[in-house]
Amino acid sequence: MKENFAQNSSANNEPRDIVDICQLACTGNEDARRKLMELLFDRIYKTASYLAQTKEDAEDLAQTACEEVLASAGTFRGESSIKYWADRITLHTASKILKKKTRRKNIFKKYYQSDINSNTVDELAEKTKIQDRLFVLIKNLKLNHREILVLRYVYGYTVSEVADMLAIPFETARGRLKKGRARLKKGVIADPVLKEWIKEWI
């Protein structure tokens, strides 16, 4: 399903009924909570799957982000789109959880000298679809770059919206996007399947 980028815009105000659902959800109304989860679960899980490196991490992250969304439902005022609001919460949750895991992994890597690049190659060998190969490359980028590329490419947010969501300056967001793009491009060119595919565009 192609994302309707217009819906993602932070400038779009949500209809009153969604605001009401959120307000009801925060008071403990079972139906409202379920409706909210039905509305946002897929989105949250999708974002989590891009940000996390393994399926387990993605599930953890998605669960935690959903809890945060339910807990903060009362704070949604309808000034931006519900999806923008949910993405923001997911990103903040991701930065809390995944950075810790990345630090542990780096320590692990330091002591056990695991080579992420070799894992990437193995994974790539298993994937045939372009998308899947791209997912692998994205997963192996740094979290900072991953966040921005996911928001930019998957959800179509502008650089200023990304900067606002991540609470970083505009220039920082642009710089990270540039670096992330360069690294992804490098990975794309290094992969023969993706290289062939990208030639059609560039």
Binding site: M1, K2, E3, F5, C26, G28, E30, R33, R34, M37, E38, F41, D42, Y45, K46, T47, A48, S49, Y50, K55, A58, E59, A62, Q63, C66, E67, L70, A71, G74, T75, I130, Q131, D132, L134, F135, I138, K139, L149, R152, Y153, V154, Y155, G156, R181, L184, K185, W197, I198, E200, W201, I202
Partner: protein, 445 residues
């Protein structure tokens, strides 16, 4: 060319972004890990919703009202209120010394009021004099003067400024002096077979056998300082203390404190300044005389006799005081004492030398450079040679601090010419070099 390369790179980036957006925006609901089946999705949502009891508590935190907060944290709130009261009371008590200061100010005010009465009581001193003795029972008071009273043979009573007292009883066996306020020194000669001296204050009594001691009495307390000999002090509550020489006792405190070395020196100096009756005959107020005029004359000692006695005592005493003040770092007092020394004997060698010290203190401690320069110049102009190198160097340093570089240069040139073997010659030459180089640069400019 560079611009073209940049543009080309930008266009490539745009195209790359387009490609990525095209391929990644069209992703399954499961995201990077494939599609979610409906059952797994529902299971996940139910799991999250079942944890709501935990979330509900968190939500309560966001929606709490003040009354809820109070109910929840009532013990903490009450403990905080109690702590505020306790600390407030504690700090309030600490602030009370201000009140004591106020009462002290009141005491000072009352003393000022009493000064008016002092005039009358001083007249009483004059009029009560007869046959060379002060009548018992009549109040004795001093204002700006001090008074030395030979109460009887072997007992001298020196009254300090602004002191009140009277002789209560005078018999061949006993002499009781009542001291109300101020400072009094008593000297009792044990060789003389006079009456036993007792001094009464508001706080107690001091019995004396043969000694020199000082009593400082105020409306609220009495301090007895014993220079030599022994005294027995009895407080109003009946507690007796045998005082030792070189100790001080505050009757409210009931503990003797040993005086420090400099305090003993000060006391010694103070005692040496007092004109006891046998030291300066004809100077006391209680020697026999005929009329009021003579009384006044006697009360203010003759200037010439005083001068010679004072000079001998005060130079030595001044030097001691100067040393003590230097140790304490009380530089304004040191300067005042030096000036007093200079005034007392302007031409003596010690006085001349002290000008160099004075110059040094003005320059290095008080930063009064002009005054320092004046002192150095006075010394140099006298032609005295003992400290001439030091005086000249001091002058050079002071001129430097006053930014009078030309004069400093001239002074240094004289120094280098006259004292080529002085210890400070190297530093002087260095400084002279710098000044000469600077003056050459200025000329070139």
């Amino acid at each position: 060319m560079d611009i073209d390369m940049k543009k080309k790179a930008e266009i490539e980036d745009f195209k790359f972004d387009d490609a990525m957006t095209h391929i990644l925006s069209d992703t399954p609901e499961g995201g990077a890990f494939g599609e979610f089946d409906d059952l797994s999705r529902r299971r996940k949502i139910n799991e999250i919703l079942l944890q709501y009891p935990l979330l509900n508590r968190q939500q309560d935190v966001y929606n709490l009202k003040f009354s809820d907060v109070f109910k929840k944290y009532k013990f903490a709130v009450m403990a905080t209120i109690v702590a505020v009261f306790v600390f407030g009371f504690y700090f309030f008590k600490l602030a009370q010394p201000e009140k004591q200061d106020q009462t002290h100010n009141k005491q000072q005010l009352s003393i000022k009021e009493e000064e008016r009465h002092e005039e009358n009581s001083f007249i009483a001193l004059k009029s009560s004099l007869s046959n060379g003795y002060i009548l018992p029972g009549k109040p004795i008071a001093t204002q700006k003067e001090t008074a030395l009273i030979q109460v009887t043979t072997g007992i001298d009573w020196w009254m300090g400024k602004k002191s009140h007292g009277k002789i209560q009883t005078l018999t061949p066996e006993k002499l009781i002096i009542s001291l109300e306020s101020g400072e009094s020194w008593f000297r009792v000669d044990p060789r003389q077979k006079g009456p036993a001296l007792e001094v009464h204050t508001s706080r107690g009594k001091i019995e004396v056998t043969g000694t020199i001691f000082m009593i400082q009495a105020t409306a609220s307390d009495t301090t007895v300082t014993l220079f030599e000999g022994k005294v027995l002090v009895t407080s109003k509550s009946g507690v007796q203390t045998q005082m030792l020489a070189g100790h001080s006792l505050q009757l409210s405190d009931k503990k003797q404190i040993r005086l420090a070395e400099f305090e003993l020196q000060q006391m010694k100096q103070q005692i040496s300044e007092l004109k006891w009756t046998d030291d300066a005959p004809g100077q006391s107020a209680a020697v026999s005389y005929d009329g009021e005029k003579e009384t006044e004359k006697k009360l203010s000692p003759s200037s010439s006799a005083k001068a010679s006695v004072d000079n001998k005592i005060s130079t030595h005493a001044l030097h001691t005081q100067i040393q003590n003040s230097r140790k304490q770092g009380d530089w304004p007092l040191v300067v005042a004492l030096y000036n007093q020394l200079i005034q007392s004997d302007p031409n003596s060698e010690a006085t001349l030398i002290s000008r160099v010290s004075l110059g040094e203190i003005y320059s290095t401690k008080l930063f009064k450079y002009k005054e320092a320069l004046r002192q150095y110049n006075i010394y140099i102009n006298t032609g005295h040679t003992t400290l001439l190198p030091e005086a000249m160097l001091g002058k050079c340093r002071t001129l430097k601090l006053l930014h009078k570089y030309n004069e400093e240069k001239q002074c240094l040139q004289k120094f280098v010419h006259n004292f080529s073997e002085a210890i400070q010659i190297k530093d002087a030459k260095k400084r002279l070099e710098i000044l000469e180089q600077a003056s050459q640069k200025n000329k070139n400019i």
